[in-house]
Amino acid sequence: MKKRFDRRTMLRGTLAGGVATMGLPLLDCFLNGNGTALAQGAPLPLRFGAWMWGCGMNPERWAPATTGEGWELPLELVALGRELPSGGQVRDHVSVLSGFDVMLGGRPNFPHTGGLVSTTTGNVPVEDGVYVDPTLDSIIASQIGGMTRFRSIEMSSTGNPNQAYSYEARGVPNAPEISPAALYTRVFGPEFADPNAGPFVPDPRLMLRQSVLSVVKEDRDRLAQQVGTHDSQRLDQYFTSVRQLEQQIDVLLAGPPDLESCMKAPQLGAENLGTEVSQSKLTNQLMAQLLSFALACDQTRVFSMMFSFRISGLRQLGSNSQHHQLTHDEAVDPVLGYQSEATQFVFDSMEAWADFVEALTAIPEGDGTLLDNCLVLGHSDISFAKVHGIVGIPMMIAGRAGGRIKPGVHVDGNASQTSRVGLTVQQVMGLNVESWGKLSMEATLPVSEILV
């Protein structure tokens, strides 16, 4: 606290004194103690992302037949065979995790939420659609989100602002960005400190905004004395959010990021929001592209993307049914052995996943690409949607997490919990946890097959 006060007092004096620019040596002392500064030679940032699609797949057509490396591409993962402009195929960057289950421990399997909430929070819901614990991305963001301008970035290509994928504790949703254009403005709008735009001049208003935040923190302190425990928790969250914005402003005051790959994202093409599958795919691509520039400039280290809602509303133009309806209504084709119309959406979803992964390989970073310094967990809410299956929830991990994990592996979880994957992810991201999940979902054994 003392440091913060001194810094502000000094800057206020500087600004009031009419000094228009501040040299970098002075700025060094503004950086917080959390290592925000990315000095020359510092390690590249490590990022975590989560990506989901709704309504699962056909287990026998989706999972590779053999484990380890060198597996044949299964029918429904054909999109991973895509050749990349940077060399190799998408599959070279992706590990497939099959055979990881949600274990209900006697609790009901709420259609679509049982599998999703258990997998992303490590706790089986007792009420339909109700999140008690934070999702994996929020857990990680609460640890590393303070180092960047944005604690995390939540995105969705469902076109619906009310459907969230990321949750804080006690069921508070992190509302997703649904418009790529809005996300562009948020990240690369006037506040973005462009490293290629000449000498950095901090905006004096940034300090003044900090003074506003000090006042509302005092408001919050006074209000917290008048409320019960229910609201006390909500005001704590408010306080944390104010602190996060203070940190964002600190980052802005520190000037442009010192990262070789950082450049302002180019203006995006036209967006077209909606649940027609072509619309969702386009949004997913635009978001991924934008995100890759944001990550290269270290604007955030945590992100999430919902390609389709758990009750997937994806649809084909001219069809009277949506993806979710089809998974239940469409009869299994007796000759093919699967639901052909519903399965088309599985192919579309896997293509969208490949699009997302590919976008992160498009920016070179260090000796490889941005993706090498990421860990992206892709998964669905369910396995076989027709029966709301939660055995063998489809999961994939893309990236090398800065050399901490190896891609290209197929792991069979042999009917262990999906929370093992969540535990592994947290450990790779540097969180000090020995176990994760509650009751039947408590996991202590990381997925060692993908660890380096």
Partner: protein, 544 residues
């Protein structure tokens, strides 16, 4: 549009003035909690306090809907990091407009000594005046002083008095005292066992219930003087607010929330463009507006709530006329319309809005429509389907089963489905003449639609009949009582409050189901005026 209600209210009898302090049976009321402003309340508050023509950024976190109401969700909604970031950006945009050269004269009650530097005295006046409306109470000295400091420093750095005020105004707009409606309890001097809401908390509850916005000066005045705790003064204020043309805003907010009409605003009532080429976002928005106009016109003229489900009177635009296949003279805007006696249209459930909202993108849904009637209009719970149910036989449209009725009848022959679907499908099937956008059709897949149905022992044929059966259903009135009570308080009724709900239901029936009387009765009840104290965190199941 909003007819004055004064006439309907003056004649209302009640136990006001008997000194008991509230109406109806004494009950142990439930707890209070902070209520995050809804996006609409945020916007109305800004417009009322800072100016009608201020553009309020739409980039605010969406409302949280729980137990079927945004009003209930608001007592759970939090301020996340990205949510706060949006509030802060919105505050800056709003403050800049509010203090620009066009607006400052109206908002700043004094002239600064110099426009290029701070002026504590003038800043203080501005902060006190605007802050009181935004926080819905007078600010403490500490709250004012801190903001005078902000204004002074900012004016000094930026060399502009009004830019200094912008920062001070921002600090009000991102404060938890603005973003959350604070409802506080204090010991009831008449009964040491009980807690009542403070006068300013009552004023806020009343104002947001009636007008969906921050209290006006008169209401704040009587609250801060303590007069509002006098039941006669409170009754007079209720009458004033409910009789105001602004009560229309309150009614719109109530029914938009109950019917989840925000989906139209968000562009989420989507239809397949090749199957329904006539359907556009303009039609969707008009459809919502049609229903709200119908409700407001009917209720503000003192109409019986139940008649909303049978009335043939409505309002149409030329766009809607195309869907309803009736001529609309007005080329631009709305005109009153009464559906013909031989038209299949009568009541809200024959509107495009309700029919399109409770359909899929590509086809109608008797089940969703029946569910809406049961859950929202009759307050009855329908359990979620079992996880491992096989729907394929029910929804196969390619084979022999050509109508929704043929497909849904299979529900009833399947034990796992029958229990719940027999509650929903017989209601919804009566609406099958309305397709996924609410347009009338005689046939589905070449077969003439059989629109017979049944609701709790009353049989009917088609939408007119189901509207009449619903109008006379004994649960229709009590359900609105329960919903309006939950909407007012931001929580479900506690078991101790059930006798109060019964009482309110009887009064509602006695008043011939006049919603303005129900609002008044709720405000004057123990449920509204007293509380068990602040809400404590639930011990959530699932926690270890």
């Amino acid at each position: 549009m909003a007819a004055l209600l004064a006439g309907t209210i003056v004649g209302c009898s009640g136990s006001i003035g008997d000194g008991s302090g509230s109406d109806g049976p004494a009950v142990d009321a439930g707890p209070v909690a902070l209520r995050r402003l809804t996006t609409e309340q945020y916007s109305y508050s800004i417009h009322d306090v800072l100016g009608e023509d201020i553009t309020v950024p739409s980039r605010i976190d969406p409302d949280d809907r729980r137990s079927g109401l945004i009003a209930v969700g608001s007592t759970f909604a939090g301020v996340t990091s990205s949510g706060f970031e949006k509030y802060e950006a919105a505050a800056a945009t709003i403050a800049e407009q509010a203090l620009d050269a066009d607006h400052r004269a109206e908002l700043v009650p004094c002239e600064p000594a110099s426009t290029s530097s701070g002026d504590d005295a003038c800043a203080r006046q501005f902060i006190e005046q605007v802050g009181r409306r935004l926080f819905r109470r007078s600010l403490s000295q500490g709250e004012i002083d801190a903001r005078v400091d902000v204004a002074r420093n900012a004016a000094q750095v930026l060399g502009d008095f009004y830019e200094g005020l912008e920062l001070a105004l921002s600090s009000l707009l991102v404060s938890p005292n603005f973003l959350f409606r604070v409802e506080r309890a204090e010991p009831d001097p008449n009964d040491s066992e009980r807690q009542r809401l403070t006068a300013t908390s009552i004023a806020s509850r009343l104002s947001f219930l009636s007008w969906n916005t921050t209290p006006d000066d008169e209401l704040l005045e009587v609250a801060e003087s303590g007069e509002l705790l006098d039941p006669d003064v409170l009754a007079a204020q209720v009458d004033r607010l409910v009789a105001s043309p602004r009560a229309e805003i309150g009614l719109r907010a109530l029914f938009s929330d109950v019917y989840d009409f925000k989906q139209f605003d968000d562009g989420l009532v989507r239809k397949d463009a090749t199957l329904f080429p006539a359907y556009t976002q303009t039609i969707a928005e008009d459809a919502k507006e049609q229903t709200l106009r119908t409700i407001v016109a009917h209720l503000t003229s003192g109409g019986d709530y139940r008649d909303l489900f049978t009335t043939r009177k409505t309002f149409l635009t030329r766009n809607l006329g195309l869907v309803y296949r009736v001529p609309v003279v007005a080329t631009d805007g709305w005109e009153a319309h009464t559906f013909d006696e031989d038209s299949p249209r009568a009541g809200l459930l024959s509107h495009v809005s309700t029919m399109a909202l409770h359909s899929h993108t590509g086809r109608s849904s008797a089940t969703l429509r029946g569910k809406f009637v049961r859950e929202v209009l009759l307050c009855q719970d329908i359990p979620t389907p079992p996880a491992n149910v096989d729907f394929s036989i029910v929804e196969d449209t390619t084979g022999e089963l050509r109508t929704a009725r043929e497909r849904l009848e299979l529900h009833v022959t399947n034990d796992a489905c029958a229990g719940c679907h027999s509650l929903m499908d017989p209601i919804g099937l009566a609406f099958e003449n309305f397709d996924a956008i609410g347009a009338f059709r005689e046939q589905e897949n070449g077969v003439t639609i059989d629109a017979s149905g049944e609701l709790d022992g009353v049989s009917f044929d088609g939408p007119i009949g189901v509207g009449e059966a619903l109008r006379d259903h004994p649960e229709l009135g009590p359900c609105l009582v329960r919903t309006l009570f939950r909407y007012s308080l931001g929580r479900d009724a506690t078991e101790d409050e059930w006798p109060l709900l019964d009482f309110l239901g009887e009064r509602f029936a006695e008043s011939e189901f006049r919603v303005s009387d129900l609002v008044r009765d709720i405000v004057l009840s123990d449920g509204f005026l007293t509380t068990s104290g602040p809400r404590e965190a639930a011990t959530v199941e699932g926690e270890q």
